[in-house]
């Protein structure tokens, strides 16, 4: 845990943080709004005191109430992984600026986040589905996507976690009908 790094982040990005910098094990976590993504990532990448030149991961997260885009960055100026969370994206239309202006290689990771969560990355030139077929209409990793698999209608339903049949409270009505074995 790099305490000095936390102080540096707070001093530089104090006004942009939406909650306190959090540290645990070898990770430092900062939360920002979607509007600050470009400014914060550019500063982290370009400024000599940070030098976060390596994007370790880019992921979408659906918390059930809001969407997040999570960036993991590595730099030789700290011993921690830096986690930047672009927090509080509305679930009905999550939008965040693309990171492809810094890391061209983020393009496919953003396509994946779009495919799985429906997050729109503004500025990504190639934001189309990457795994699911082009005529697919839902976003499978969202929490309201009901995993309607055949095991859920078997006599052993509910015995093992994979076969649980309770649909999320906001699941579409059809998902609940299917539970009856139709």
């Amino acid at each position: 845990m790099d305490r000095a790094f936390k102080a540096r982040l707070e001093a530089r990005f104090g006004d942009r943080l939406t909650s306190a910098v959090h540290q645990r094990h070898d990770e430092t976590e900062m939360r920002i709004g979607a509007g600050d993504v470009v400014a914060v990532l550019t500063a982290l990448h370009d400024e000599p005191e940070f030098r976060f030149e390596f994007l370790a991961d880019l992921a979408g997260v659906d918390t059930g109430t809001v969407m997040q885009v999570v960036y993991h960055l590595w730099s030789d100026t700290t011993t921690d992984w830096l986690r930047v969370i672009a927090d509080g994206l509305p679930r009905d239309d999550p939008r965040v600026p693309s990171a492809t202006f810094l890391w061209k290689g983020a393009e496919w990771m953003e396509r994946e986040a779009y495919d799985m969560f429906g997050i729109t990355f503004e500025g990504n030139r190639d934001l189309r589905r990457i795994y699911m077929p082009p005529d697919y209409t839902s976003f499978p990793l969202r929490k309201d996507f009901y995993l309607a698999d055949d095991a859920a209608r078997s006599p052993g339903a509910g015995v093992r976690p994979m076969e649980r049949t309770q649909a999320p409270s906001n699941a579409p009505a059809t998902a609940l009908v299917r539970r009856g074995g139709t």
Binding site: E27, F54, D57, H72, G105, Y131
Partner: protein, 415 residues
């Protein structure tokens, strides 16, 4: 197949019924594997790619292509025999591993990680297990860490050995893959004695490993270690001193270090451009700080550099295995943990250095016995998109060579 601009459907696939009269064309129904998608372009890039310039044509490579190391379709845009651009189409192997993990409990989730990259299964389990351990604040016993490193490095050699064979196979050489399969088979037999499985080991557990070192594993390992260096060097001279191979690979698929960092490449493919980034040293984990090994780099950034770098890595892995065997401490191989794991709500990220680059997992816990969000980061996925940067200007036949030199495994690409 040719494209003419005066055709009524210039962007649709059509076929000549007669070689003598190219104007007689058949407008067919669009099938599953037609190169041009049967819908209007959705993005700027797609529109640009599927608009053909003068003398250009599209060609499908895959999905059942022997050189794609799995089920991958690549649409090539060709000008004569030169590749102008390419568009990989993924998803043929997509199983939704992340969703499956989110619907399994913490122990069960590990077995979904193995088949991601089936030639280096231990490295797919490792980041997931490490992230779970961070969520639970578990201290892994040192013996378990040493066993993890030992088996992991063996797996790395097996994976690299297979890479060397595949690489030559994709260039049309049949002999090296037979040699590398001998190497791989010996390691796989060892690991099967240790873990009980030949491919999908499912060996790492939250807080340790599944079983202790046993007699069969140790005797096979000792036997192999005594001749490994010699055997590997002998196999390598097959290619290293082969002029056809070396001249074909040199200067092919070159990428410089700045572009490689922008493409977020890692592992041997990044180190072949001269950047000494290795997660084992850059962000130390497990017992790697206690071990002495070098990080080989090369400056050329071409296919030959990537190939030679992996051979250097095999030598370093042998050094690490040797040290592990000498420093292996006694003690338990599992931390004491309850059967049912309910980590406190929180987030954890773990990244490790595998044979292809950085494997990582990001896990969000909500306090229940299942991961709330499980993100798996796979290096093959990242490297495959770099093919689009390396390929323009090369010949069709080099597509396979460049792709093989990046060593993507489709199980990991498609998750």
């Amino acid at each position: 197949m040719t494209a003419t601009t005066d055709h009524p459907h210039p962007h649709r696939h059509y076929e000549e019924t007669s070689a003598d009269d190219p104007r007689v064309v058949l407008d067919r129904e669009i099938g599953v594997f037609e190169p041009v998608p049967p819908y209007p372009p959705r993005t700027e890039r797609e529109a640009e790619f599927y608009t053909l310039g003068d003398g250009e044509m599209l060609l499908n490579m895959g999905p059942q292509h022997p050189s794609t190391h799995g089920v991958l379709r690549v649409v090539l845009k060709l000008d004569g025999e030169k590749v102008v651009d390419l568009d990989p189409v993924l998803g043929y192997l997509h199983r939704g591993v992340e969703k499956l993990c989110e619907n399994a409990d913490y122990h069960q989730a590990i077995c979904y990680l193995d088949p991601l990259e089936y030639v280096s299964s231990l490295f797919c389990e490792w980041p997931g297990v490490m992230a779970f351990e961070k969520l639970l604040d578990v201290d892994v016993p040192r013996r378990a860490e040493y066993i993890r490193v030992l088996s992991g490095e063996l797996n790395r050699i097996a994976s690299h050995a297979l890479f060397l064979g595949w690489m030559a196979l994709d260039l049309g050489g049949l002999t090296p893959i037979l040699w590398s399969f001998i190497e791989r088979d010996e390691i796989v037999d060892m690991l099967s004695a240790l873990t009980g499985q030949r491919m999908l080991f499912n060996y790492f557990r939250i807080g340790g490993v599944n079983g202790d070192l046993n007699h069969e594993f140790m005797s096979r390992l000792g036997d192999w270690m005594s001749r490994a260096t010699e055997q590997i060097e002998a196999g390598n001279t097959l290619l290293n001193e082969n002029e056809i191979f070396v001249r074909r690979m040199r200067g092919l698929g070159t990428i410089d270090s700045t572009t490689a960092l922008r493409m977020v490449m890692t592992g041997p493919n990044l180190r072949a451009t001269g950047v000494p980034f290795d997660v084992r040293r850059a962000h130390p984990y497990s017992v790697y700080p206690e071990l002495d090994f070098d990080i080989p780099t090369r400056d050329e950034g071409d296919c030959l550099a990537r190939y030679l770098l992996r051979m250097d890595e095999i030598r370093q892995s042998l050094r690490i295995i040797d040290q592990c065997l000498h420093q292996m401490p006694d003690g338990p191989i599992m931390a004491k943990l309850p059967r049912l794991l309910r980590p406190r709500p929180g987030r954890a990220y773990a990244g490790i250095e595998g044979p292809r680059g950085q494997y990582a997992a990001y896990v969000v816990s909500d306090g229940t016995d299942q991961p709330f969000r499980m993100r798996i980061h796979d290096p093959s996925f990242i490297h495959l998109q770099a093919v689009g940067v390396m390929m323009p200007g090369h010949l069709i036949a080099d597509t396979m060579a460049v792709m093989a030199s990046l060593d993507p495994i489709m199980g990991g690409v498609d998750k």
